[in-house]
Symmetry: C2
Subunit: 409 residues, 2 copies
C-alpha cells in the first residue's frame, strides 16, 4: 500500500534541504536551493534530448552515468547556463567544488542544475557564495523542503512537491520530490527540473531502468508549448537508509512497488507542470483509447495536446471539436476518421461531441460548462484496437503570450 | 523576362470571376466566389496530407488526378465542409451539378472548395442558389478578380492576389492567382486555398510536376500555428489561350520560364499568408544556411518558425536568441551547437546575436529596433555545408489567442 504523506524532497530519511536569495536575476525572493543526503546516494538521471544542452546537463549526465555516489544537488533559478560554452561548464565545476569544500565531501559528488534565461553567464561569485550559505542552512523539516521547492521556481505560479510512504520487507520506505516547470515544456524529457529523493535501497541499474520507463508515460507526455528545453533534467537519489534488503530483481514484488511509488511522484509532477503551464487557466488532458498500437496512441494524444488552435478553443470554452479532429488527422498517424468518437469531461460533467467522425447535435451550454472546469479531458475513442495513451497540457491564453513576449526583462 | 502586372485570377486570357453574398456564416459581406475559363483547362492540384480530409479535397483530388478538363471553380467561405461524412460529399456533387447546369458545361467539370468551421454541414440550398447567381455575374476585369479574392477570406485581414506576364515563343503568357489563409497554417500543404490560373499551353503531367516541386519550397515552408488544416488546396488551371507551342519538355527553356513564373506566384502567396497569420503583427522569416543537407536545413528552419516561445519573443521585440538556439536544438536534426552564428535583420538594420553558439555582446537597442520591423529575418549559419532553406511565419500575439478562443461565434 502506498500512502501520500506531507513534504517533498526532505520526506525520505536522511535528506535535508535549504534555500537562499543569491540575487541571480530575481529581486526579493530566494533563487538557490540545496538538497543534501547525510549518506551518499546512488543516482539515476534522464536529460533533455535537445542537441543544445545546458552545461549542468552535461555535468550531471556524466555523473549519474558513472558509479560515483552523490551527496548533494545545488540548484539555481534565473539563468539556465545554456549556450555558455566552456566558461559555463567551468561554473558547474566551481559550484560543485564550493559545495564539496563546505560540506566536507571527500568520496561523493555534487550535482548542479540551472533554469532560466538561455545564453547568459552565471554570476559565479554569487553562486559560490550562495552555495556556502546553503550548506549552513540545511534542515530535514517539511518546511525546508517546501522552501527549497519555492526557490527553484521561474514562471511557475506555485511550488510543486509530493511524497509517498510504503513498506518493503517490514521497513518503512519513502519517496518524495520537488519539480519546477512552466514554459518551454514539451516531450523529449519535458522542460523542467525534477529532484526525487528516496531512502529505498535499490540497485543503480534497476533504478535507472524504472526511471527511464516511467518518464515515457509521464514527463514525456506533457506539452505546454511544444518547445523542448535545453535544461530538462530528472534526478533520482537513493540513500538506502530505509534499511530494506536491496532491490535487485526486476521481477520482484518489491521492485513493482518501488515503480508504483515512483510513478505516483512522477505522475503528480507531470500533471502539476501541465496545469501550471505558462498563462494556463486549466489542465487539459487528452486520452486516446482503443488504438491498435501504443506508439500511435501517443502520437495522436501529443498531436492534440500540442495544437495551438485546440488549446485556444479550450481557453475560450469553445467546443470547437473540429480542431481536435484536425489535430488527430495531421499527427502523422493513420486511422479511419469516420470511426472516431470524442467525448469531453471535467468536474462539471460529460458530453459526447463526435460520433463516427461527425459532430453530433450536442448541447452547447453543457459543453461550455464542462470546458469551464479546472481539469478538462478530451477522450478520443479510435475504435480499432486496445492500446491507449494520455497526454497532459493546458490552454493557450493571453497570459502565455504576455509572459513570453518579454521574458528577459 | 517576367514582369508583375495588375490583377490575379482573371489576369490570364479567357478567365473570369464573380462573387456573391450567400449568407453562409458571415453577415454583410460576400462569401462565395467563382472562377471560370471560357476554354476547358488542364489542371494540377496538391492537397492537405491531413488524414481528416474535407469533402471538397476528396472531390477535387479525384478530378485533378483524372484526365478530365475543368471549366470552373466554386468556392465558399464560412464552413469548411470537413468532418461531414457522406452528406458533406454529396454537397460537392450538388454544387458542381448546379454550376454545370447554369454554365451549360457538357464535357468539362467543376472544382469546389470550402474554408471555415469544421464539423458543420453547408446550407446547401443557399450554396446552390449562390452558385447560380455567380454564373450570371462573371467578368474578366481586374476588379472581378479582386472582389473574388475578398469573398474567399475568413480571418484574413486583406485579400491576396498577384499576376505575372512573360513570353514564350513570342506569345504573351500570363499566370496569376488568389489565395486565402490565416489560421490553421502549417506545412504539409499549408492550410490555405490557392487558385492559380494561366493561359499557358502546357502538358498536364509537366504542370503537376512543376507545382509539386514548387510547393515544397513555398507553401510547405509556411507555418502560422503548426496546425495542418483539413482543407488545404492549391489548384492550377491552364486553358492554353496564350497560343504558345505546348510545353512538353522538362529540360526546355520554356518549362524553366513557366516554373519561374509559377514560383513568383507561389512565393508571393506563401509570404502573404505568413505575414497575414492570425493576429500577426509582422512577417518572420527564418533562413538556415550552410547546412550539409537540404532536408536538414528545412527541418531546422521549420523548427524555429514553429517555436511558440520564439514567436512570442519576436512579438515582444525581445532579442531572446536562446529560444532560437533551443528550437534549432530540439528540431531533431543533429549539428554542432558551438558552430552556429545567428544574425537578425529587417528594414531597420542588421545585427549579429550569436557567434559559435554563444551570444555575443550585441546592442540591445539596435536588436529591438530591428525586431520592430514589418519583416524580420533570422539568419542561422550552421557552417557545415552548402545547403539552405527558408521558412516563413509570423509572431504569436494576444490577437491570435483572441481570434481562436472563440472562432465559432
Amino acid at each position: 500500500m502506498i500512502k501520500e504523506i506531507k513534504g517533498g524532497v526532505t520526506a525520505a530519511q536522511g535528506f535535508s534541504a535549504s534555500c537562499t536569495a543569491a540575487g541571480i536575476k530575481y529581486k526579493d525572493r530566494t533563487d538557490m536551493a540545496m538538497v543534501y543526503s547525510k549518506v551518499p546516494c546512488v543516482t539515476a538521471g534522464t536529460y533533455t534530448k535537445n542537441v543544445v544542452k545546458a552545461a549542468p546537463v552535461l555535468w550531471d549526465r556524466e555523473l549519474t552515468d558513472s558509479d560515483k555516489k552523490v551527496s548533494a544537488v545545488v540548484i539555481n533559478a534565473g539563468i539556465a547556463n545554456a549556450c555558455t560554452g566552456e566558461e559555463g561548464f567551468s561554473y558547474c565545476r566551481k559550484t560543485s567544488d564550493a559545495a564539496k569544500e563546505v560540506l566536507k565531501l571527500t568520496d561523493s559528488e555534487v550535482l548542479v542544475a540551472s533554469t532560466g534565461v538561455i545564453g547568459k553567464q552565471l554570476p559565479i561569485d554569487r553562486i559560490v557564495a550562495g552555495t556556502k550559505v546553503l550548506a549552513t542552512k540545511l534542515s530535514d523539516t517539511v518546511e525546508a523542503g517546501d522552501e527549497a521547492s519555492k526557490a527553484i521556481m521561474t514562471t511557475d505560479t506555485h511550488n510543486k512537491q509530493i511524497a509517498f510512504e510504503f513498506e518493503i520487507g517490514g521497513k518503512k520506505c519513502v519517496i518524495g520530490g520537488m519539480c519546477k516547470g512552466s514554459g518551454m515544456i514539451h516531450p523529449n524529457m519535458c522542460t523542467m527540473l525534477a529532484f526525487i529523493t528516496t531512502d529505498v535501497m535499490i540497485d543503480k541499474k534497476l533504478m535507472l531502468k524504472a526511471l527511464r520507463e516511467d518518464i515515457e508515460d509521464t514527463f514525456n507526455m506533457v506539452s505546454v508549448d511544444g518547445d523542448t528545453s535545453t535544461n530538462d533534467s530528472v534526478m533520482l537519489l537513493a540513500n538506502g537508509l530505509a534499511g530494506n534488503e536491496e532491490i535487485r530483481d526486476e521481477n520482484s514484488a518489491e521492485y513493482a512497488l518501488f515503480k508504483e511509488a515512483l510513478h505516483g511522484v512522477t505522475l503528480f509532477m507531470a500533471k502539476s507542470i501541465a496545469a501550471d503551464g505558462e498563462g494556463a487557466t486549466k489542465l487539459f488532458e487528452v486520452r486516446v483509447v482503443n488504438v491498435n498500437d501504443k506508439a500511435k496512441a501517443k502520437t495522436l494524444a501529443l498531436s492534440v495536446i500540442k495544437s495551438s488552435l485546440t488549446k485556444a478553443a479550450v481557453y475560450g470554452n469553445d467546443a470547437n471539436v473540429g480542431r481536435i479532429m484536425c489535430a488527430l488527422g495531421y499527427s502523422g498517424a493513420d486511422f479511419d476518421p469516420y470511426r472516431v468518437d470524442i467525448t469531453i469531461s471535467s468536474e462539471n460533467g460529460t458530453e459526447q461531441l463526435v460520433e463516427n467522425g461527425v459532430p453530433v447535435d450536442f448541447d452547447e451550454e453543457i459543453a461550455t460548462s464542462i470546458l469551464k472546469g479546472k481539469a478538462v479531458t478530451a477522450l478520443c475513442d479510435m475504435k480499432e484496437g486496445s492500446a491507449e495513451a494520455t497526454a497532459w497540457g493546458c490552454d493557450l491564453t493571453y497570459d502565455y503570450v504576455k509572459i513570453n513576449a518579454d521574458y528577459r526583462s
